[in-house]
Each structure stands twice: as structure tokens, then as C-alpha cells.
């Protein structure tokens, strides 16, 4: 591959391969979403001493399918105050962006530290990556899509013509904007280490075994920040203030019913899967892993799936364990902890990389880091204290 824009021309083979990849990715994502809903309900039930869905299909596997069929046959209501066009448009914005971000995730291909492995498989004599597209902007597409997805939520809440959806939507956009900063900077750390934006390049940069995974070589902190920020970005517990049932009924999708609600539901769980897949790509080496015997193309896919499932389990575990944060706690965590930490880490990693490439002096580098850290932390603490004092005065005035 290496020719994402088909500068050298396109033949039917390219089109066919592309078509197959699109269809496979689409179906895979849909089925995975179905299974994810089942998985979440099942694990959540297990963690609360319950059984969970077990009637539809073996072990209740078809429960989501049954729910989906039910949604299709429900009446589609639109509130009288709702904006007709935007109200119909919003679910599709959510669903389409959820589908699109998955396109850049490499789900297979052998990535080993040997010369023959380029992460490609061959279909109909065409060498191709096991990902729908590998645009040069790569990971930026994810950030773009997760930003556009906020429009789905925001427009849904605004166009419903009802107070709870509007409040939920306002919360959603504020939350997404706050955490996107931390999320983006965690991505930048990885991009600096990998030296490329392309997801294929990022995965190829982690093919040398465990200690080349960016989880390890970036020092775990960006991964933790990304995980927390992603949880907030996905509106999943403990950051699910967007649809806090006790306060907002259902948040932005309160007024939605039938298949439009199903689309939001689908998008939400699809985003969880996509975000896990992105995390695997960025930090856990993507499909990289030992290849034992048999077909070489099977093992990377299995490794990829195993890593994704592990992360999905983590998200479900969060949900089963952590109570929802208050809104000011959410904002404090985002702005006063995650962003400063990842900012400092970004600085540290950048200097480390610069030193490695330019052969700068160790001592000067260390001193620069310490001085910057001290100054930065002092400034931040001062700012926080000033903010607290102002807040205190406000409280006294009231």
C-alpha cells in the first residue's frame, strides 16, 4: 500500500478490495456493538451477583438483536416543539461519526520486528493493510470525529425542544471540550514518539516487543490520562453526567424513541469499541504479538481482539465500580489534574526526544525539565489558590 490517495491509478482490484474491507469493517463493528451491549450487561450483572440476559439465544447472546428488532417496530415520536430537520439529523451524525473513526484502526496484519513483516495481507494478489483506510492524517481523524460526534449530542439536545435534553447536551459539550484537550495531548505524546500520524505507522513503531509499546515507552501516564479522558469523552460512568438518569431523565436522548434512539444507543456503544481499539492502536501495540503456528494473519487479529476485549472489560468494570462524579468534580479533574499532568508529560517527552535526536547535554536537559516543572507547578498552584479564594469570596457574598 503506502498509496492512500491512489496516485498511481486505480484498477478494479483496488476497488474490490476496498469494498470488501468497508463491508467487513461495517459488519464487524455492528456485530461487535451487539456483542458489546451483551458483554456489558452480562459482566455488570456478574459483578452485582445477578445473571444478566440469558433468554434470547445461547447465554442471551441475541438479546441486543431482539432489542433492536423491538426498537424498529416502536412508534417514532417527535415532540411538537422539536425542530423537525435537526431532530432527525442528529442521530445520524452520532452514528456516522462512530462508524467513521473505526476506519483508521488497523485490526490485523503481522507486525513483527523482522524485515518481511510490513503489516500487510494479500487479498486477490493485492497487498493491503487490514484497515479500511490509512490516511496520512491518521489519528487526527479520530479527534475530528469525536469532536463532530459532540454535534450529534448537542443538536439532539437542542432540537428536542425540552429542558432535560438541553441540559444534558450542554453538559455533554462542556465535558467533551474539557476532556478533549487532555485526550489530544495524550495522543500528541504518542505521535511524538512514533514520529508519524498514520495509525499504521504508529502500530509499526510498536512492533519490537512489549517495551516498545507506547504504553511502556511513554511512561504509562499518557495511557492513564487517555483512558480517563476517553471514559469522559464516551460519556461512560463515572463520567455519565450527560445522561444522569436521576437528574436529567435520559439526558440528550430523553425525547428520542424507536429507531432514532437505537441509533444513539448504537453510536454510544460503537464509540466505546472504537475508543478501545484506538487505545490498543496507540498504546498497546495494535495487532502486534507473537505468532505461533498456522496462518500468520490469524494471530494478529486474535491479539487485537484480545486487547480490545480487555479494555472493554475495563470500561465495564469502571461502570460497575465507580459512582458518578459531581459536575464540579468532573471539571476539576479535567482542568486541574489531567491537563497539567499531561502538559508536563508532553514537555518531558518532547525534550527527551529532542535530546535523543540532537544529542543535547543530559545535565542541561535535566536542569531545564526541573526548572520548568518547578516554575510551572508553582504558577499552577498559585493560580488554583487564587481561584479558590475568589470562589470563597463569592460564597461569602452570597
Amino acid at each position: 500500500m503506502g498509496d492512500p490517495l491512489f496516485v498511481d491509478g486505480v484498477d478494479w482490484g483496488d476497488v474490490g478490495v476496498m469494498g470488501i474491507k468497508v463491508v467487513v469493517a461495517f459488519v464487524l463493528l455492528l456485530v461487535a456493538t451487539m456483542l458489546m451491549v451483551w458483554f456489558e450487561r452480562k459482566v455488570n450483572a456478574d459483578m452485582t451477583n445477578r445473571i444478566g440476559p440469558n433468554v434470547a439465544g445461547p447465554w442471551g447472546l441475541l438479546q441486543t438483536f431482539a432489542d433492536g428488532v423491538k426498537f424498529f417496530f416502536k412508534e417514532d415520536l417527535r415532540p411538537a416543539n422539536a425542530d423537525p430537520l435537526v431532530f432527525r439529523l442528529a442521530p445520524y451524525i452520532s452514528a456516522v461519526t462512530a462508524f467513521l473513526s473505526f476506519a483508521v484502526v488497523p485490526i490485523g496484519g503481522a507486525f513483527r520486528d523482522v524485515p518481511g513483516d510490513t503489516g500487510t495481507v494479500s487479498i486477490f494478489g493485492k497487498e493491503t493493510y487490514l484497515q479500511v483506510a490509512d490516511p496520512p492524517i491518521g489519528i487526527l481523524l479520530l479527534l475530528a470525529m469525536s469532536s463532530v460526534a459532540v454535534y450529534g449530542v448537542m443538536l439532539a439536545g437542542w432540537s428536542s425542544g425540552s429542558k432535560y435534553p438541553l441540559l444534558g447536551a450542554v453538559r455533554a459539550s462542556a465535558q467533551a471540550i474539557s476532556y478533549e484537550a487532555a485526550l489530544g495531548m495524550a495522543v500528541v505524546v504518542v505521535v511524538i514518539l512514533a514520529g508519524t500520524l498514520s495509525t499504521h505507522g504508529i502500530v509499526a513503531g510498536q512492533s519490537g516487543g512489549l517495551n516498545t509499546w507506547f504504553l511502556v515507552s511513554s511512561g504509562v501516564v499518557p495511557f492513564v490520562v487517555f483512558l480517563i479522558a476517553a471514559t469522559a469523552e464516551l460519556n461512560r460512568p463515572p463520567f455519565d453526567l450527560v445522561e444522569a438518569e436521576q437528574e436529567l431523565v435520559g439526558g440528550f436522548h430523553t425525547e428520542y424513541s424507536s429507531i432514532r434512539f437505537a441509533l444513539f444507543f448504537l453510536a454510544e456503544f460503537m464509540n466505546v469499541i472504537t475508543m478501545s481499539a484506538i487505545m490498543v492502536t496507540l498504546f498497546l501495540g495494535g495487532p502486534a504479538g507473537p505468532i505461533f503456528f498456522g496462518w500468520t494473519w490469524v494471530w494478529p487479529i486474535l491479539w487485537f481482539l484480545a486487547k480490545v476485549v480487555a479494555l472493554l472489560f475495563m470500561f465495564v468494570w469502571f461502570r460497575a465500580t465507580l459512582p458518578r462524579l459531581r459536575y464540579d468534580q468532573l471539571m476539576n479533574l479535567g482542568w486541574k489534574l489531567l491537563i497539567p499532568v499531561i502538559l508536563f508529560w508532553l514537555l518531558f517527552i518532547s525534550l527527551k526526544e529532542l535530546r535523543a535526536t540532537n544529542d543535547w547535554n543530559w545535565f542541561a536537559m535535566g536542569a531545564a525539565v526541573v526548572v520548568t516543572a518547578v516554575v510551572g507547578i508553582t504558577l499552577m498552584l498559585t493560580a488554583l489558590r487564587a481561584g479558590d479564594r475568589a470562589h470563597q469570596r463569592e460564597l461569602e457574598d452570597v
Binding site: V43, D46, M47, N49, R50, I51, N54, W317, A320, T321
Partner: protein, 214 residues
């Protein structure tokens, strides 16, 4: 580890025993004094216990009982004494199964069975009349086609389930007033109802043969 303790707890629950009872497939045994749908009991000689006094209707907080009494035909009485329950209807769309009717009944005529799985397709079926409420000739509740009875549910549906004897005095618990219970006979006081259970034969209780009530 403060924050992480919760994760340990939830993870360990993965391997815990499940508390869910898969209801339609698995049914828990019901408590002995479960409040289900009512039955109207009869004496051993086949006479109805209901005397049409309307105390149950009066005490019912949901106003779901409708009773009309009538005089017994002296040659062919429906119940011992002068009066019988001529009309007896319970509307199960209103009944809250509080059991106050059972407590109010002076003759133990109305009691509650353990049946709760009955649903109807129309409102008329929700109103049980005497035909459906009165026990059949062996003292068991009449099974309606829309009701789901399980083994043993139709046993001990009568005054056996009461917390006290009709008079409120456990000494009289197994004293035959008029005649015994159709299907279930006479029973001893329960353990703890009045100190240690004692056979009533030892008690000096005035009994009028052939009389009903005290």
C-alpha cells in the same frame, strides 16, 4: 488503597454465587401465610361458612368486595343459621391482598390462598363471583382456566392460615364449633400461638354440641 478497593470488591463478585431466582422457571416456595387470591370455605357437611354479614366488605380498604346476604331457606339451608352470602364478588383489579377481610370474618369463611399468578383478558373475568370463590366438594379451591396453580398451592388454603383462632383465643383453636373444615378437618394451635402448643382436649372449654359459635 482507598480508591481501588471498590475494584477489588466488584471483581471478586464475578465469582460469587448468583442471587437471582429465574422466576418463571424456578419458583421459590411461598411463605406459609402468603396473601393470594381468596377462597370461600365450607364446613365438613358441605354448608357454606359465609353468613352474609358484610363485615369483609365493610373493612375492605380498596372497596373491592361486594356482598349481599339473604335468608336461608329453612328446609334447605345454604349455611348454618339464618343468613347466607347470597351474592359474593371480589374485584381483583382493586384487591390489594391486605387480608383485612380474613381478619374481619367471624366464621373464617373467607381466607386467602397462595395463588398470585392469575391474569385476565377482560375486566369481567377480574370479578370473581361465588361460583369461582367457593371451594369445591373436597375443600380445594376451584381452578379457573386462566389461573396457574402449582403443586401444593391449593393445600392449606383455609382458616389453617390464620394467625389466630376466629375468636382470637387460641384455646378455641381446634374446638369444633359447628363442624370441622371441609377438606382439612380440625387442627391444633400453632407453636407459639399461646405458649407451648397443647392439645385442646386437656382444656376445660364449654362446648355446646350442635351449636355454632361461642
Amino acid at each position: 488503597m482507598g480508591y481501588l478497593d471498590g475494584f477489588r470488591v466488584t471483581f471478586s463478585k464475578l465469582f460469587d454465587e448468583r442471587v437471582t431466582v429465574e422466576y418463571p422457571k424456578v419458583k421459590r416456595p411461598k411463605p406459609e401465610r402468603f396473601h393470594g387470591r381468596h377462597v370461600l370455605n365450607r364446613y365438613e357437611d358441605g354448608m357454606e361458612k359465609c353468613i352474609g354479614c358484610e363485615l369483609c366488605a365493610g373493612v375492605c380498604p380498596a372497596n373491592c368486595i361486594y356482598v349481599r346476604g339473604a335468608d336461608n331457606d329453612p328446609t334447605d339451608p345454604l349455611s348454618p343459621g339464618e343468613r347466607n352470602g347470597y351474592v359474593y364478588e371480589i374485584n381483583y383489579l382493586r384487591c390489594i391482598h391486605c387480608d383485612l377481610c380474613v381478619e374481619a370474618c367471624p366464621t373464617q369463611a373467607i381466607t386467602e390462598s397462595k395463588l398470585f399468578e392469575f391474569s385476565f383478558a377482560n375486566r369481567a373475568d377480574a370479578i370473581y363471583t361465588k361460583d369461582e370463590l367457593v371451594v369445591d366438594d373436597d375443600g380445594r379451591p376451584r381452578k379457573q382456566p386462566w389461573e396457574l396453580w402449582h403443586d401444593g398451592d391449593d393445600l392449606n388454603t383455609s382458616g389453617w392460615m390464620r394467625a389466630t383462632s376466629p375468636q382470637g383465643n387460641p384455646d378455641y383453636e381446634n374446638v369444633v364449633g359447628w363442624s370441622g373444615e371441609l377438606g382439612y378437618g380440625v387442627r391444633d394451635p400453632e407453636e407459639g400461638q399461646r405458649g407451648p402448643a397443647s392439645p385442646a382436649e386437656n382444656l376445660e372449654v364449654p362446648v355446646e354440641p350442635g351449636g355454632y359459635g361461642h
